[in-house]
C-alpha cells in the first residue's frame, strides 16, 4: 500500500504542475458531457417512452462518467510498461524486489486515481449547478451514495485487472499497438462508454451485465443515479467482487507463465 501512495503522490504532484492541462481537461470534459447530454435530449424529445431511464438519471450518469473519466478511460496504457514490453526490457523489471504484477497493478491505479482526484471535483461542482434537467443530482439515499463509492473502487479495480490481461497478452504478440487498439475499441463499446449499457438491446444487455464489462463503470454509476435499487445493488457488488477475484487470479497466473517464457528464451 505504501508503494501505491508513493506512486500516487509523485503522479499527483506531477499532475498539479500542468496547470493549463488541468484547466483544458476540465473544459473538454465539460463540453463533451454537455454535447452528449444534448444528443440524448434530442432522442428523448422523439420518444421519452423508449428511454430506459429518466432524463435526470441520465444526466447524473453522464456527469459521473466525465468526472471519473480518468478512472475508467479505456485508452490509457502506461507508457513505461508498454515500452518495457515492446523493447523487451522486461528482464530489468524482474531484477527488482517487488512482485511485477502487484507493481504494475498499483502503478496503473495510482496514475488513474491521481488524475481523477485532480479533475473530478470541478466537473462535479459545475454539473451540480447546471439548470434542470441537465444537472447532476444527489444520490437518492445516503446508503446508495456509500455503496456507489464502494462500487466505484471495485469497478476501477476490475478495469485495472482487465487491463493487466491486455498488457500480458502484449508479450505474446508481434503487434502490441494493434492489441492495444483492439482492446480499447472493444472496452470502449462494451463498458458503456459510448452509450450507457441500459440503452443496448435487451439480449446483449443481459449478457454484458454478467460479463466483466458490466462491472466496470456501469455498476457504480447506475447505483448512484438510482437505476439499480435494493437487491440489484447487492447483486452488482457481488458480481464485481467475483470478477475482481477471477481476473486478478487469472492475470497473476498468466503473468507468471509469460515471465517464465521470457526467462526461458533469455529475454
Amino acid at each position: 500500500m505504501k508503494k501505491y501512495f508513493s506512486f500516487f503522490k509523485i503522479r499527483f504532484i506531477h499532475g498539479l504542475q500542468y496547470r493549463a492541462a488541468a484547466y483544458a481537461g476540465i473544459a473538454t470534459q465539460f463540453a463533451w458531457g454537455g454535447l452528449t447530454l444534448l444528443m440524448f435530449a434530442a432522442f428523448y424529445k422523439t420518444g421519452a417512452s423508449s428511454f430506459p431511464m429518466t432524463f435526470p438519471e441520465l444526466s447524473s450518469y453522464i456527469w459521473l462518467q466525465q468526472a471519473f473519466l480518468a478512472l475508467f478511460m479505456t485508452w490509457y496504457f502506461d507508457n513505461d510498461i508498454m515500452n518495457s514490453i515492446v523493447t523487451g526490457n522486461i528482464a530489468y523489471e524482474l531484477c527488482r524486489p517487488i512482485d511485477l504484477y502487484v507493481m504494475w497493478f498499483l502503478k496503473n491505479m495510482a496514475v488513474r486515481s491521481s488524475r481523477a482526484v485532480l479533475r473530478c471535483f470541478p466537473v462535479l461542482i459545475i454539473a451540480f449547478c447546471l439548470p434542470e434537467p441537465f444537472n447532476m443530482s444527489l444520490p437518492k439515499t445516503f446508503s446508495s451514495g456509500f455503496l456507489f463509492l464502494l462500487s466505484v473502487i471495485m469497478g476501477f479495480m476490475v478495469l485495472t485487472a482487465f487491463n493487466m490481461l491486455v498488457y500480458i497478452t502484449m508479450f505474446y504478440t508481434v503487434s502490441p499497438m494493434g492489441i492495444r487498439i483492439l482492446a480499447v475499441s472493444l472496452l470502449e463499446f462494451l463498458t458503456g462508454a459510448i452509450i450507457p449499457i441500459p440503452f443496448f438491446p435487451e439480449g446483449l444487455k443481459k449478457v454484458l451485465l454478467l460479463l466483466p464489462f458490466g462491472s466496470m463503470q456501469n455498476t457504480p454509476f447506475l447505483i448512484y443515479n438510482g437505476y439499480l435499487s435494493g437487491p440489484e445493488i447487492g447483486q452488482g457488488l457481488l458480481l464485481q467482487t467475483g470478477w475482481l477475484l477471477g481476473l486478478t487470479v487469472l492475470g497473476y497466473l498468466y503473468m507468471k507463465k509469460a515471465l517464465l517464457r521470457t526467462t526461458v528464451q533469455g529475454g
Binding site: 483544458a24 481537461g25 444528443m39 422523439t46 428511454f51 430506459p52 494493434g178 487498439i181
Partner: protein
Amino acid sequence: MKLYFKYAAILLKSQMQYKASFFMTMIGQFLVSFSVFLGLYFMFQRFPSVEGFTYSEVLLCFAVMLTAFSLAECFVRGFDMFSVIISNGEFDRMMVRPQNAVLQVLASRIEFTRVGRLLQAIVVFVYAVPKSGVLWTWDKILTVLFMITGGFFVFSGLFVIYASFCFFTTEGLEFMNILTDGGREFGKFPFSIYGEKVLKFFTYIVPLALFQYYPFLYLIGRSDSLFHMLLPLLSILFLVPANLFWKFGLRHYKSTGS
C-alpha cells in the same frame, strides 16, 4: 507535391516493414469506428428518428463526416503529432532544410493505418447510399463531394491550429480534441439536434456545420437552396485563419526556440 508523394512512398515502405503490426492497427482503426456505428444502430433500434432525421439519413451524415475526418487524419496527421515533432528536435531538422516547413510537417507522418477508418466510412456509405431514399442526381453527388472536400479542409485547418498551439505550449491542448475528435464523434448527427446555440457555434466560429448540416439539408431534400449546397466550399476559407495562426506560432517559435 511530387516531394509529398516521395515522402509518402518512403513512409509506406517503412510502415510495411512491420506488416503484422500494420494490419492489426488497421483492423483496430476499423473496429473503433465500427463501435461508433453500432452505438448509432442501437440508438435507432429504440428510437425511430431524431429531430425528424431518420436512421438512414443520419448514417449518410455519419459516413460523410467519417470520410472527411479519416482523409484529413491520414494525410495531415503530421500536425496532430506536432508536439512530438517539436519536442524531439525533428522540427529543427526540418527548419534547416530548404523546403516549406508546412509541407515537411505534413509529409513527416502519414499514417496509412488510418485507412481502416476510411474503410469503415466506405462501408457505411455503401450501406447508407441506397437506403437513404435520396435520388442520386448529379447535383446530389456533387453535394456529397463538396461536403467531403470541405470537411477535409476544415479538419486539416483544425489540425494546423492544434499544431500551432504547440509552438506556445505542449500542455493543455486537450481542449482541441473537442473540435477534432469531438467534431467527428458528435458530427455523426446533423448539428441542429444539439440546439441552436451549438449550431451557431459550429457555423460561425468553427465551421463544421458549413460542410455538414446545411449541405446535408440540401442532400436529403429538406432545402433546395443552391447556397446550402455550395456552403462547403466557403468552409474551405477556414484554412486562412489557420494558416495565419500557424505563421504567428512559427514566428514565436523562432524568437523563443522552445
